[in-house]
């Protein structure tokens, strides 16, 4: 079974890039437009890993992390923050909320995939790059 990823970002461009990267790696990728959507989709998608932006309408990335961590379902799922921000204060806040890791945009597909594999332990080969 391929790795299931939930990507939450309010930018269509970033969602498209993420989805492409995930699909090239042979992962299943669901996307959500903002934090509120992401949280509401979380149970149904039941991802192996979540990638979330921080600055989003309705519910920001910290809210997403807190909602998942305080939930009853799959609350220990790895959650990676993908943001253009790289300030220590924000990282600290994300970690305190329960983030698993922090990635800085722009991302490179292969490195992102490597990180996803590292935090999930997923070793499926997936598809080769087309």
């Amino acid at each position: 079974m391929s790795l299931r990823v939930l990507a939450i970002d309010d930018s269509l461009t970033i969602r498209t890039l993420l989805r492409q990267a995930m699909e090239n790696a042979g992962f299943d990728c669901a996307t959500a437009n903002d934090g509120a959507d992401g949280v509401s989709m979380f149970a149904e998608v039941d991802p192996d890993v979540v990638i979330t932006d921080i600055n989003m309408p309705r519910l920001d990335g910290f809210g997403v992390i807190e909602a998942i961590r305080s939930g009853t379902h799959n609350s220990r799922v790895p959650i990676l923050v993908l943001s253009t921000e790289s300030g220590d204060a924000l990282k600290a806040r994300a970690r305190a909320a329960g983030a698993t890791g922090w990635l800085v945009k722009p991302f490179e597909d292969l490195q992102l995939i490597a990180v996803l594999r590292r935090v999930t332990g997923y070793s499926g080969s997936g598809k080769a790059h087309p």
Binding site: R4, N55, P78, S86, Q111, R117, T120
Partner: protein, 662 residues
Amino acid sequence: MSMQSIRDTFFEECEDLLEALAEGLARMESGEADSECLNAVFRAVHSIKGGAGAFALDDLVAFAHRFETVLDEIRSDRMELTDEAMHVLLRSADHLADLVEAAHEERSIDDDITAGFLANLDACLGDAGFEDPAEDADFGFSAITLDFGLSAEFTDPGAPGAGPPSSTPHISDGADPDRTTEFGTGFEETASPGEASADGLSPATPGSVPATTEDEAPAQGWIIHFRPWASLYTNGHDPFPLLCGLEALGASRITPDLSRCPKPDSYSPESPWLGWEVHLPSSVSHAEIDAHFEFVRGLCNLEIAPQNSPRVIEAGPSVLSNPDAAPPPPQMPIHSEGLETSAAAVMAELGAATAGVGVSDSQTADTPQPLAPRKRPSKAEDESDNRGPKPTLRVDLERVDRLINAVGELIINQAMIEQSVTDLSLPAETEIISHTEDYRLLARDLQEAVMAIRAQPVKPLFQRMSRIVREASEATGKPARLVTVGDTTEVDKTVVERLADPLTHMIRNAVDHGLENSAARALAGKDPEGTIRLSAAHRSGSVIITISDDGGGLDRDKVLAKAISRGLVTEGAELSDAEIDNLLFLPGFSTADKVSNLSGRGVGLDVVKNAVTALGGRIAISSTLGQGSEFTISLPPHPRRDGRHGHLCSRPDHGDPHFIRH
């Protein structure tokens, strides 16, 4: 999906974001902005920055970053939104739009121009200025940076009252032999191992080689001690992939470290105590090992030491008493050959062990867990990309046009059938006559519905005009504001696209030629700031767009004189006011005494008129001396679109009345 099409997606998204930005700034300017509006403005710029980074559009990223910084100051109330600052924001939004456009067209904008805008943004921030430019420079430009990089600041959230752990993963910190004894301290009856470890003191390497530095590979490889705290698990980490990754790096031995196992009478199922000792070959660099653990730094006890340093494993913790009076602690044979195993085998143990260790959620503990069949993300979720405040669907325009063409053919077909039926002169009660009638009504409904797909509000178009007014106002030194009315009026997409240039021209004209200068306005008892009014409405089946100014109005004598001097009118001709006004639309007519930089570019109102006519519309002017002028553009709701739907217009006997007005 190709990179090019994602790029196209980005620029499409930029248009939406720039529109949202303009709208939000307009609300800020009018003082109606709430915090959500400020956030939306910030996010618009932020999203442009984020997307631009993915395409290495550095100019755009750099500018958006500065812009965003100022917006962030405003939204967090650290900076006051003065008129001056508002002006800078509006101009910056304009420049951001220019940068996006330039990037889209793969050209660059002169750095000096951008530098001017950046200086204005900097000035907004006042003395505080911008943060460290070095940080600025590597902000989001570089390739992915994957770290929390916080080891020094992080305390284990599961360790109340603990000071910042000084346990950095580097051995230099642990080179104090005295600290080895700390391993046995800190356990209290109810304390979790997480707390104990957060005493900040890693077990260290007595008599270790203090000279070992990060880039120096030890002769006999590395020995790593890794013991997760509770927070490692609660932050979604799993030791299994970490250990597997070490195995992939070439770990020769991974040994469970059971030395922190509490005595049965003080055993807490919530407390993680299991650790591992890992031997890595010298071919692996310290930096590689560091990178491997970067996300868990500060969430575990981690010690990376050269293997040639003799490490004495001290006693495990005494659970019940203070360290001074500790009875001999339980010893665990942690170096037993029998326990040496591969990561996979260790994890089999871990699966069993962690069932009661710190991880109450079996989902994480039983790694790898068998995955129950789960629903794939549904189609609806995939399409959720397009969910906004109002659900919308992004559709390739070509598809819509194919549909419109097909409906156009259908309408003709319907008319032909109707005609054929009429020609049969059947009795009035014949069924086919009523069916034909139904068909006609359905076909009309279908056509209306299809044309509505192309309808768009004029708002984005009108918003662009506020920029034109700003620029024209600056260029002429005449203060002016734009008032828009009816910007939710929907018109065909073609109208929105093709009216941009004519409107731009007319708005510039209105400021440049229509408005008097402020001194003259003051003399006439008018507000020194001129008003340009732009409105859109549907009126009796047409779209009516008006552009008016409250300037001096047309000087008809001057207009007539000019027309005569240009040979457009014969001397002594008697013209009505309306006829004189319409002279403005004649090719080559210009009322400006001197060609100005702004609107006198040899493009006259005749070009505007041609553009409107091409859309199947008409333009008219009315003017009152001293009170201003008004241009009225009247357009059919579904404009002629050259060639492709010509038949819709070319069959006035059969087509929809909408299509036969020209």
